[in-house]
Every structure is written in C-alpha cells, then in structure tokens.
Symmetry: C2
Subunit: 660 residues, 2 copies
C-alpha cells in the first residue's frame, strides 16, 4: 500500500523508528542537515540496508560523500526485529574540510505486519497475497469473497443471523492478522482496524481469540464484534510472533447503491504527544466482494418441489405427487394453515443460492407480492443454511408483474462471443413505448441488475392479463445444440394444428371436457379470436426476436407450442389469457415434464394437443406427464408452473470465475 | 438495433408489411403453411431480396422446392419505397404432386428511418453512425455529448436555463430524425420518441420545425418541449423524404446515482386493432453523455481574478490590484454590499467549465459553506454562457472542510502509465483511522467523484484548525520536468533556515513588524513549538507520500517552503495554524506569484524568508510579489489564496478524448 514513508531525522539526537518490513523509509538528507554541511556518510547494522539517491560514483558511504540539494536516503530492513531498537543507522554530517559537524542516529525496530484473506479463493487464508487489496473476476482473478449471513442458525425467535449474534463460523469469511517482531510494540504505537461509514453498513467483523480458533466449527456466540455500522475503527492487540483470526460476514446484498466491494484497513499508528492525534505510519488493506444472489434455470438438477394444498386442488396435488415421486425428487406441501388459500407457489418466492470458496447455501428471494403466502418464505424456508432476502417497495408500486412467475432465468448461453455461464435472468415489463403500463417494481429490478452475474433481459409481458413471462416461455433440457430448447407459446402453431385437423376431417372434434365445449370448426370460424391470436403471436414474436438476440439463439433452438390466447378487457385495456390450459407453463424435473392437461380436440380418443406435445418433447428425449389443473388453476388464470416451485442444485460453475 | 423481425404471413390473403431499410424480416415458412404442403416457391419484385434457410441445392425458388420443418425466409429491401405497397413478394405452397394449394402475398412498403446525433464528435450530426447507440472514451471513441444547460440566457428573473424555457440553441445538442419513403406512413403506423423515467429527470428534448431550423442561432422561446420528466414518450410526425431537428439539453450533472449516460429511443409502432396497444416493429436509439464539470489547475491561463473589498483590507486590495494588472489580467472586486464582510472568495465557490464539440462555457460550483458571500455565485456569476451548479447537504453535515480552499486540482500527470490529462482533484478529509473528525460532506464528494475525468485524491487536512489543503500545498508552473512543481509547506525547511541564520550570527533577528515580535533564537529555543512543528511536518509528510504516489511525483518535483505552524486547542483537540503568513497559500497568475508577505527575520534589511522564496521560485523562472495580508487575512486564519479566486481558460485537451 503506502510502501514509501517520508521520515524526519534530527541531528544531535537519537530517533527511535518503528519500521514495517516491506516498506521503504525516505529521508531527505539535506532537509535537516546542520548548517554548513557539505559532506555526509552513513553507517548501519547488518539487518539494515540503504540506498542513496541520486547514485554517486562510490561503492561506500562509510567515508564522506558530497551532500546535494536532492540527496535522499532510502532505508529498508531485511526482517523483523527480535528486540526493540535492535538495529541502528547513523548519518554523519561534515563541513567543507570533512570535519564532523554532528550526526543523526536512528534506532530501528522492524515488525512484519500482514492482514490476510483468502484472495486466491482456495478456501484457505494465505500469507500477504500481493493481490489481496484488489478484486478481479475470472479463473485467473483474485480477491476474497463474503457471504451475506442471511440464514438462521437458531430457530428460537428466528431471525437472519446478520441481525443477531448467534452464528456459524462457516457462514463467515476468515481474515487473519499476522505479526512478527518484538513481544510488544514500542510505547504508544497501536494497531487499528478500520472501515469507512458506507462499508460499516454492509459488513460485521468478529474477533476470535487464539484458543477458540482451534475449535473452528462451533458456534461463536461470544466472539466479540469489533467492526460494524456503529464502530468503524477498533484497536487490535499486537501479539508479537502470532496471529489473530477474524470472521467477516456480509449484511447487505449488492444493490443499486452498492457494487458489492468492501474494504477493511489496518493501520499502524504512531504516537506524537498528548492531545495530538496519532498518525498512521503503515496501512494494509484487504478487499472482499459480497457474493451475488444466483438463480437456477430449469436445466439444473431439482432438489425439492413445493406446491400448496388447498380445499379444491386434490386432483392437481395427486398428479404432482405422482410425477415428482416417480421422478425421484422430494415433494414438499405447503398446507392451508400456512398458505391461507393462496396456491401460487411460483409467485411468492424465487429460489436461488449464494456461494463462496469456503461455503454456500440456498437463499430464497421473497417477492413483494405479499399475498396470503407471504409468511411462507420467512417462517418455513429461512433456517440453518437456508437464507432469506427480500426487497420491500411501497404497496402502490407493486403490480401483478412483481410476482415471480415473471422472474425466470435462462440456461448458460454464449452471445456474440460473450459467455453467460450462469445464464441470464428474464423478467417481464411494460412496452418501452407505453406511456402507461405495469412494470416489475424498480426496487426488485435494481436488486436483480446489481447481482451482475446473470445480466437480466427485460421482455414485454404487460400484453398478458396476468403479465408473467412464464405464460409464454419456458426452457427444457436437450442433449444436442446449446443443451436446451426455448419453448414458446405459439398461436400460429395452434391454428396450424387445428387447420390440419379440419383438413383431415376432424373439424367437429371438441375442446374441453365439460360444457361449454367448442369444436375445431367453431374456433377456426371465429374471426375475432383469429385477430386476438394474431396480436398475441406478434407480441410473442417481439419477445422471440429479443430472446434470439439476447441469448444468441437460432430458430432451431426454439420450439413453438400450440397454445391459443383470448383477450379480456380490463379497465379499457385488452390483455391476453390462455384459451385452454397453457402447456408452456410447465414444471421441468430433469427429463420429466409436468404439463397442464390441455383438454384439446380428440382424434381416435387421443388429444391432438397432447399428441403434438409428446411428439415435440419426445424428439428431445423428454417425457410428458399431463396434469389436470383445469378447475383449480387454469380457471383462476394460472397453470402448473404458477402453482409450483422447484429448488435446484447450484451450478458447478463458480460465479467468481466469470469473465466480466 | 432489433435488426431481425419475425413476421407472420397467412396464406389465402394479402398482408401489407411496413419494412424498415437495413432490417431483415424473418418468416417461419412451415409455421403457417396450408395443411398438406410439401413444396413452396417464392417470387418478388426487383427492390426485394430474399434468402431461404437452410440453403437448398438450387439457385432459384421460382420452381417448387421442398418445405422443411425449419424452412425460414429472410426478406430485405434495397431501398425505401416511393409509394405505399410498391413492392411485392409471394410464397406459393404446393402439395406432394406439386399442385398449387394456396399462396401468401406480401405488399411491402419500405421506409428509411434514422435518429441521428453527433456521435463522431465533430460538431455536426452525421447520418446513421453505426456507433450512435454506444459511448466510448478516447480519441478513437464515439458517442454524443450533452451540456447541462446551467447558464442563464436571460437576466430577467434570472434562473438557470434548464429550469425555464428561454434558451440558446447552441447550449443544446442537436438530434435529427431523418426519414425516406412514401409521403406518409400506412394507416395507423406511428413514430414515437421515448425515454425511460430515470432519464426523464436528466434531460429535456425540444422539437424544431423545419423553418426555425434555418435560423439556428436565435432564441427558441417557442420550440415545443416534447420529452421531459412528465412526458416520457411523444408521437413525432413522419414527413416522408425530410428531416426533423431536435435540441437536447441536460438538466442534471453526473452524480452518485447517475453515470452521465442517457438514451433516447425512437420506435415505429404498428397498429393491431382498436383497444389493443400498438407493437413496435423497429426501434432506433442514440446515447448521450452529460459533460462533466471540470476544474482548472494553477498551470492554466488566468482570465479573471476575484477578490472581496472589505472595510479593513485596503492594503491587500492595493497589492492584489497592482499584481493582477501588471500581470495583464482582469481584477474583479466583490463589494461589501454583496460580500457582507465575508472576504474568503476562495471558499465560497470553485470555478470550472463544461465542454462539448459544439459549445462550452464556465460553470461555478457553489460551496455548501453558505456564509455571507453565499449569494455571489448565483446573483453575480450566473448569466449568459456562465453556468451554475451546487450541492446542498443538510446544515449539520457542513464543516470548515466544505470550504473550497479545501478543493484543488493538480496539473496533468501520468501515474504508473495511467494518464490524467486534466489532472486530479484534491480534497482534504479526516484521517481514515479517526473515529471522529471533520470531513468534506459526502454530497459534494459524491459529485466530485462522479465527474470521473479528474479522479479525486483525498488528503489529510483535518490536522489543521481551518482544515484546508491550500494551507500546506500549491502547484506552480515550470518549464522542465512534468511542467509544474508541487509546493509544500515545510516546518523542517523553516527550522533549517532559522538554524542557518542563528549559525551565521543572526539569531537576534526579529519576526513580525509590530509587537509582539520574536527572535530567531527564541523560536529555536521553544521546545514545545519544535514538537508542534515535528507533528505538522509528519502530517504534511503523510500527505507528501500520498501525493507522490497518486500523482506519480519524484522528490525532485516537490519544493519545500519554509513555513512554521503552531497548535491551538479547539474542543480538546489540538490543531495547526500558520505561525507567520503561510507562503504556500499563494495566488498563481502565469509566471507571477502573489505570496503572503511573511514578515520574517531581516538580514541586512532583507527578509530571509522572502529571499529564500525568491531564490526557490526564481530557479523556475517565476516572479514573487509579496502581498501584505497580515492584519486583514493572516490574523483571521487565512491568506492570499483563501482571499482570492481565479477563473482560468479551459484545457486545450478535450475530456472525451480521455482513455478510461
């Protein structure tokens, strides 16, 4: 850091100097030479080294050399002292006759001081990494990482750990102060750890005693808090040849006003005299980046599937249970006392995770939607090694577009040579040209953008009555091409399928099981419905073009699913709803898809829509299970995906290895 | 921008399509082919071009070729249409026997649309610059520039122009909408100019009629405002083969929450049907960067010098007048009715400027200090081609460190290969380790950092009672080395000079003209004063080390001036004040320096401090004029620099040519 320090020396007396190994002392020789000085010489003990600048035509400064206006003495020490003042350097001043005028004597005490972190990201705190105070992305990058300690180790009066003092050491990043030198610092010198005000609101630093250190995996209820928002600097004991361990936790995620980087500084302060503040003679610093919150796309392995149980969704639950269990995953049911009749498990929360070289855990992002499921993420999910984060805008700023059916993430992609190894977040907003329109609230958008590792894409979803991107798009795994396919709802594909049916003599086949049913012929004869679907298709095509561009997709990476929409009027504005169960709104569990049963026209007892779906997905090696969500979800303007949520394994790829 | 657009085509009817030259229409042929289609062919008029993907083994699609699942037709047009629907393309569909099943016909209307700005920074708006929607620093960079319209063209009920509608076209950046095609757009299509909410708070866009355009340098009282915070989108007329000129002004400077970039979008909207929002089929966009506020170092040519006239500063004024006039510059005196006894012209404001390829003007930054001189920057300086900006933190957050004697800027420097062609801003703050301490208010610091082109350096100035960096440092021009020298107050240099005097038998020489005087011997005998100066020297040395590192300076770039300090107690804290007039606190006017007359010890009738100063500055070819500020400034804890201010010429170097 400040590796060169200007040092004052006075002739006629002994000056005691505390020196930090690795730095350089700069003495302006002319500045404080006695009057009439023309020559000088320098002597020192073995552990001390010096250079004179500008260099003279001599190899030794033991005999007098000319003092010039700009003569500077640069002093270093090879290693730390054993005892205080065990090293010496003297400058002798001579007049024109080379008669000694006076001398300045330095008594030097060398100490080695290093504030250390895991800057090379291997899970261990190395010594004095030269890159410890800068942060660089990528596999050849460096810089330590911090987790927001947002899980709750104790369920008693549960709160996220960063709001209280019960915590696990493993959720925190270790930081070590290593010192070498005499048993104690010279009188009046002290070591101070300090952070700036804005960083004080983003981290907390705890100090561990040497003994507790050996017991690293226990709780640390009693480790004292040394740095936080109300304590920005703290004197730290100097223990001679020893080390002191600290634990650092994040308390805030990156956001619009926080780029994620925080700095911790260590200063060695020199006493001057009573009533005068000490001045720092050495400063060391380390940097951490707070780990971003990361979403998990459909292509990652499922861990748990969440659905709600309500009075009326027995059929749906049965279908989901069968699908999830046969796929080999865990189904977790949120019961009525907790969901209070709110079945939209997708909308109230988004599963993600945070990760660091030493530890990681899932973190739920709680939506500002806050309907009857509101308490579920905090009361049920938050727990040991399960974190929680939320953003709470004003009620008036929250719309249907803030439900997290409107927050998805793509599988990893490469776009014009730029890699997104963690995929890209996808949200739905109003049209950029719309003077009015519903949007995802700025507070959540700011949070998502600030995570930076899954750069978001904004689609146009306000054309839909409910307004969620999961109403017209999904991703499924594929073994070929980019490892996935983008599925898009397609009225054109629907019309094409129905026209083929009509053409093949199945125009009388009926959609829907119960009244009112409708035939293929009737649908094709409805010119208004055709216009509404042309509009819906053009909205989807607009999004298709954006997705192709922003995800680097070809037409071959996209599959059009036969889905029709209809428009409904809502306050003078016409917006779209699925005409029959919206098959794109599916749950993806590895190679098994849970798809809303479409109740399409039957040919020889087989639903033509299901058959098309089975054929399209079968080409990818995926298996379709059709789940009857008609009464309990579709009629309430949602489907299988809206009514479920999946917690998935993290990416194998480590976010800090991204090239930014 | 969105250069590919997915297009729906229906067989059995004619589809009218509006095409924008330079884009590509993508038709998924299979998606809407009639049932049983096995082959297709394509025909079109001369101005239309198409490609089939995947490419087939044929050179002509005039005869039937096989339709595949992934057959895509890519359509472009060479140039804009003369009349609506003057171009055609048809797709013919065939069954297995190559019998025609049906055809889809497109009637194409081509338009050329471009929203243009001066992206190449030559002062003229070129046509469709491919880089117009991104911003890149440097001589090979691109991206248009916007000024904050913060001057006041009219002095009647004066307010900055961006707060009212009287303005000069030249303060604004031109933007041109160029169109080519039929005389009008097909029924229902419209052009809309739009910005996002956050940009709406940072700019205003005015539209000029074609006629006013020719009269570009007149006032534009009546140019209608089309985009601003309360109008984020506006329909713009399409005029066929013509152009429409807009004028854009900035209303906010870059700041913590604003990186300076703003985007203006133009969308072409397609009508669908009544009650359904139009969808954009083409979007063009341009980007502007708001010009930063730039400070001017001592090495730039002075234009005007400002001082206050008070009841008691006649001597000072006389000295300044003589210096400024003999140096060939203009002296502007702020009289008592305006300054109300506040003489600290340096502290209430900082002169700077803003610049763009088409125009630039000086801008005063008004300090939050807000003492009796408070009205001067707004009431006197703000005017035609003289801008005004301020930041107003809460009173409780303002300290003596917010006076702009604590805001300086270095000459251009290169630091470890990094160029700062506009120098670096220098401010003074509390020590990083200090738990308490005075600081420059965060609001002003944020503003300074956000300008980005003169990356600030924070020095430690809280050790001084007044707390301003201009109490211990200044820059003077030099013909050699880096083009300047850093001058630092140096107690060591002072003691060295006094010891030499004592040594030469002048220990009885007296400082100060009136009682109480003090001799050189008395000063050298005062051990407490020596300690206080050792402390002051170590504080300055700390800053010296920071400045060497952050400005890339060698010891040879620094000159130590003989200045002593003393400590005074203030609320239990000891802080420093100049012991005699602080010679580093000077005014720099080209090669002429106005220096506080130090009233040092006289040898043969000549002040030894003045003599040393004349010798040090004379080596650089600079002339010293000593100005008596003892009673009216020094005794009030300030000197020449604190009591004056200089408006200087802008840099020749253009800020947008910086490599960032």
């Amino acid at each position: 850091m400040s590796s060169k320090r200007t040092l004052r020396v006075d002739y006629g007396r002994i000056t005691s100097v505390l020196y930090v190994v690795g730095t350089e002392l700069v003495v302006n020789l002319n500045r404080s030479a006695p009057p009439k000085t023309k020559y000088f010489s320098v002597k020192c003990t073995d552990n001390v080294q010096y250079i004179i600048s500008p260099l003279l035509q001599t190899t030794s400064y033991l005999s007098p050399v000319p003092l010039m206006d700009n003569s500077v003495l640069l002093i270093t020490m090879k290693e730390a002292s054993v005892h205080e003042n065990d090293n010496k350097l003297s400058v002798w001043y001579y007049d024109a006759d080379k008669t000694v005028l006076d001398k300045a004597v330095l008594h030097l005490t060398g100490v080695d001081i290093s504030l250390d972190v895991d800057a090379d990201r291997d899970g261990f705190v190395e010594k004095n990494n030269p890159n410890k105070n800068t942060w660089k992305w990528g596999p050849h990058g460096h810089g330590a990482i911090l987790l927001v300690n947002c899980d709750a180790e104790s369920l008693y009066k549960k709160r996220p750990d960063h709001e209280r003092n019960i915590k696990h050491v493993k959720d925190m990043s270790p930081m070590v102060l290593r010192t070498k030198g005499p048993a104690k610092l010279p009188e009046g010198y002290k070591l101070v750890l300090h952070i700036c005000q804005s960083d004080g609101e983003k981290i907390r630093v705890f100090i561990s005693s040497g003994k507790r250190d050996k017991n690293i995996h226990t709780d640390m209820d009693h480790y004292p808090l040394v740095l936080y928002s109300a304590s920005l600097s703290k004197e730290i004991p100097y223990l001679g040849n020893d080390e002191i361990k600290f634990y650092v936790e994040g308390v805030k995620f990156p956001d619009k006003d926080f780029d994620g980087l925080i700095h911790i500084n260590l200063s060695l302060l020199e006493p001057i005299s009573e009533g005068i503040p000490e001045t720092p003679i050495f400063t060391d610093a380390v940097v951490f980046r707070v780990a971003p919150w990361i979403m998990t796309p459909n292509t990652l392995r499922p861990v748990e599937v969440f659905v709600c149980s309500t009075k009326d969704n027995y059929k749906f639950l049965k279908g989901m249970k069968s699908l999830v269990e046969s796929s080999g995953y865990k189904l977790k049911i949120c019961h009525e006392y907790m969901n209070r009749g709110d079945r939209w498990m997708q909308d109230e929360l988004e599963f993600g995770y945070i990760d660091s070289p030493h530890h990681g855990f899932p973190v739920v992002l709680d939506s500002p939607r806050d309907q009857q499921l509101d308490d579920f993420p905090y009361d049920v999910l938050l727990g040991p090694d399960f974190g929680y984060v939320t953003r709470e805008p004003k009620r008036k700023d929250v719309s249907s577009l803030d439900s997290f059916g409107n927050l998805e993430v793509s599988p990893p992609v490469t776009v014009n040579g730029k890699h997104y190894p963690l995929g890209r977040i996808i949200i739905g907003v109003a049209f950029p040209t719309a003077s009015k329109g519903r949007n995802m609230t700025k507070m959540v958008q700011d949070f998502l953008w600030a995570q930076t590792v899954q750069e978001p894409i904004a689609l146009f979803s306000d054309w839909l009555e409910v307004g969620h991107v999961d109403e017209f798009m999904s991703f499924v795994p594929a073994k070929d091409r980019k490892g996935f396919r983008l599925l898009l709802a397609s009225p054109d594909a629907g019309y094409k399928l129905f026209k083929n049916l009509q053409n093949d003599g199945h125009g009388d086949a009926k959609l829907f099981e119960d009244e009112p049913t409708i035939t293929v012929n009737e649908i094709l004869a409805d010119k208004i419905l055709q216009d509404e679907n042309n509009y819906s298709q053009s909205c989807i095509d607009w999004n298709r073009d954006v997705l192709k561009r922003e995800l680097g997709l070809d037409d071959e990476d996209i599959i059009d699913l036969p889905v029709l929409f209809k428009l409904v009027e809502d306050g003078g504005q016409y917006r779209a709803l699925a005409y029959y169960p919206d098959m794109v709104n599916m749950i993806v569990l590895g190679e098994n898809l849970g798809i809303p049963k479409p109740f399409g026209p039957k040919v020889n007892g087989v639903c033509a829509l299901e058959q098309e779906m089975v054929s399209l997905m079968g080409n990818l090696g995926l298996t379709c299970t059709f789940i009857d969500d008609f009464t309990s979800y579709h009629k309430l303007m949602g489907e299988v995906h809206c009514g479920s949520n999946v917690r998935r394994s993290p990416f194998d790829f480590k976010w800090w290895n991204m090239e930014m």
